[in-house]
């Protein structure tokens, strides 16, 4: 895989507080989700990637270069911070034009790109004349995204880009990001809306207490997470008997029985040891099974599991 971001034993302290603790990972092109509770180290990681902070130890490379005070690299990076703050006295077109000029575009190109990006993120033209202090949360979010996209970055780092957007806005932004990812742009998104990350991102980094708890594609994370409980929903004539048989065989982490129902939901301890025994236990129990459904666990479930 082409590596966009590579961290090796990366740590960052704030005095005695550990922001990131010896993390190593790789991020390739396409969409990658950055997941973690508050204080997990997401913002620290994002700020190191965008050259706002330096590592205390270890190394972080973006396209093979260190980001701190590196204009050549920063040409290729777009950044959309989480906070809603924008220069309230400025109008969006002026702000984007100024940022485009600082990014190295000529004045006509800066003007053209600024307007094109405002159109692209769906900020209605009637709002362009307003100062950004008058903007709603969703409008600010769109302008923030526009400034990140303006110089066609090869890596986009987005901190909570969907915050404040209505469902249509979220869909529009998701479409923009998918399109960019198809063209080969690396996109790192931090979000609390895990369902959205799940549909958007092929892979994820899960952070907690400054450590990478799990990383990779969702399927790989499920496999890698220790004690991960795969879940099966079984429709059968004697759910209690089957539950007891499986539990006694020591292959379950737990199960749910619903009164007056033929449904049994089981949480498997270890898939590798469960499936070879499953048929034998079932036959021995004498239970008739009508249907077995694997319940795919969401990113939310994974997140809850690994951060528990």
């Amino acid at each position: 895989m082409n590596t966009v971001i590579e961290a090796t034993e990366l740590s960052r302290w704030y005095g005695i507080v550990m922001g990131l603790n010896n993390v190593s990972f790789r991020v390739g092109p396409g969409l990658t989700g950055l997941v973690g509770p508050n204080g997990a180290g997401k913002s620290t990681l994002i700020q190191i990637i965008t050259g706002q902070l330096q590592p205390s130890s270890g190394e972080l490379l973006v396209f093979g270069e260190t980001p701190w005070n590196n204009p050549r690299l920063l040409r290729r990076v777009g950044y959309c911070p989480e906070r809603e703050s924008l220069p309230v006295e400025l109008r969006p077109a002026d702000w984007l034009r100024g940022l485009a000029l600082i990014s190295g575009m000529s004045l006509p190109e800066a003007r053209r790109r600024g307007e094109a990006m405002l159109d692209r993120v769906g900020l209605a033209r009637e709002h362009w004349r307003k100062r950004m202090g008058q903007y709603s949360k969703g409008m600010r979010q769109r302008v923030k995204l526009a400034q990140a996209l303006m110089h066609d970055p090869d890596l986009l780092v987005l901190d909570e880009p969907m915050n404040g957007l209505d469902p249509m806005g979220r869909q529009e932004v998701a479409n923009i990001l998918k399109e960019l990812a198809r063209k080969g742009t690396g996109i790192l998104i931090s979000s609390h809306i895990l369902a959205e990350l799940e549909t958007l991102c092929g892979s994820n980094l899960i952070l907690n207490w400054g450590r990478i708890i799990a990383s990779g594609a969702q399927g790989d994370i499920r496999t890698a997470v220790k004690d991960w409980s795969e879940q099966l929903a079984i429709l059968c004539d004697q759910p209690e008997t089957l539950a007891r048989a499986l539990f006694n065989a020591g292959v379950l982490n737990g199960f749910d029985l619903k009164p007056n129902s033929e449904l049994l939901v089981i949480r498997i301890k270890d898939a590798e040891t469960f499936y070879p025994q499953w048929t034998r236990i079932l036959l021995a129990s004498g239970v008739t099974v009508y249907e077995v459904r694997g319940q795919s666990r969401s990113l939310q479930d994974i997140f809850e599991k690994v951060t528990a």
């Binding site: 050549r72 920063l74 950044y79 703050s85 220069p87 940022l99 190109e109 800066a110 110089h151």
Partner: protein, 262 residues
């Protein structure tokens, strides 16, 4: 890079960045509230002078424009204008949008300083013109050389005190207090010591320049100094402060919540 064929390549550089920061400076300072503040700065003192100065007597007028305006109001204005150069961006949480652009941090700091300096110079030139208006209305005769020397020393004051204000603003959120202390120690204290240490005081060089006007030298009992030497030393002092500030901005990390507490 994702560079469509029909797009011209980006060429990050100081000129384009200066233009971009200039747009920010101009747009953010031309809101109604900010323009009203600027108008008050430009016209406030001249209006007071119109009210209190006697007609036909130039001496009180000179005291106002030199002792009060040039040596007190200009340094304080520079402190309040240049001190928040970076701190305002931190406070409004917009610094991240700029420092993640492809421009070196010290260049960014110098360009921001330059933009603010041009704006402040314009404000001060307008204030100077308002003083001339007061002189005209009060029927005061000001000798010809005093006027250009006043504008020259005022522009040097903005350049140098701006550099001081910018550095102090980066050092601490209590830059106003530190600035006033600096003023007492260096600009008042050192300037009054009759050894070479007074060359560290910007005010010493301003008075040395103004001393080339016979009217001002006579009134304030100043001796004329070499104008090129005073300009050179003040420019060197400014360069030192700007270099220190640039280095500080380059090496320092800024976290909004932490930094606002320092």
């Amino acid at each position: 890079m994702n560079e469509p064929a029909n797009r011209e390549p980006v060429k990050p550089g100081a000129i384009r960045a200066l233009l971009g920061l200039g747009i920010f400076e101009l747009r953010s300072r031309t809101t109604l509230a900010k323009l009203a503040q600027s108008a008050a700065l430009i016209l406030g003192i001249p209006a007071m002078m119109l009210l209190v100065l006697p007609t036909g007597d130039a001496k009180p007028f000179l005291n106002w424009i030199v002792n009060f305006h040039l040596l007190l109001v200009v340094p304080l204005t520079c402190l309040t204008t240049f001190g928040p150069l970076i701190r305002d961006e931190l406070q409004s949480d917009t610094l991240g949008f700029i420092v993640t652009r492809p421009i070196r941090r010290h260049t960014l700091y110098l360009l921001k300083y330059l933009c603010t300096m041009v704006w402040t110079q314009c404000m001060m030139i307008l204030a100077g013109l308002a003083f001339l208006g007061v002189a005209f209305l009060k029927d005061l005769s000001i000798s010809g050389s005093a006027v250009p020397l006043f504008f020259l020393s005022q522009s040097i004051a903005v350049l140098a005190f701006g550099a001081v204000g910018g550095l102090l603003g980066l050092l601490s959120k209590k830059y106003m207090i530190i600035g006033v202390l600096y003023g007492f120690v260096v600009e008042v204290g050192f300037a009054g010591i009759p050894t070479n240490i007074h060359t560290l005081a910007i005010s010493h060089h301003l008075t040395a320049i103004l001393g080339n006007s016979a009217a001002l030298a006579g009134h304030f009992n100043w001796t004329a100094g070499s104008i090129p030497e005073s300009i050179g030393i003040t420019a060197a002092i400014s360069a030192v402060y700007l270099t220190l500030a640039g280095l500080l901005f380059t090496t320092r990390e800024y976290h909004h919540s932490d930094e606002m507490g320092k």
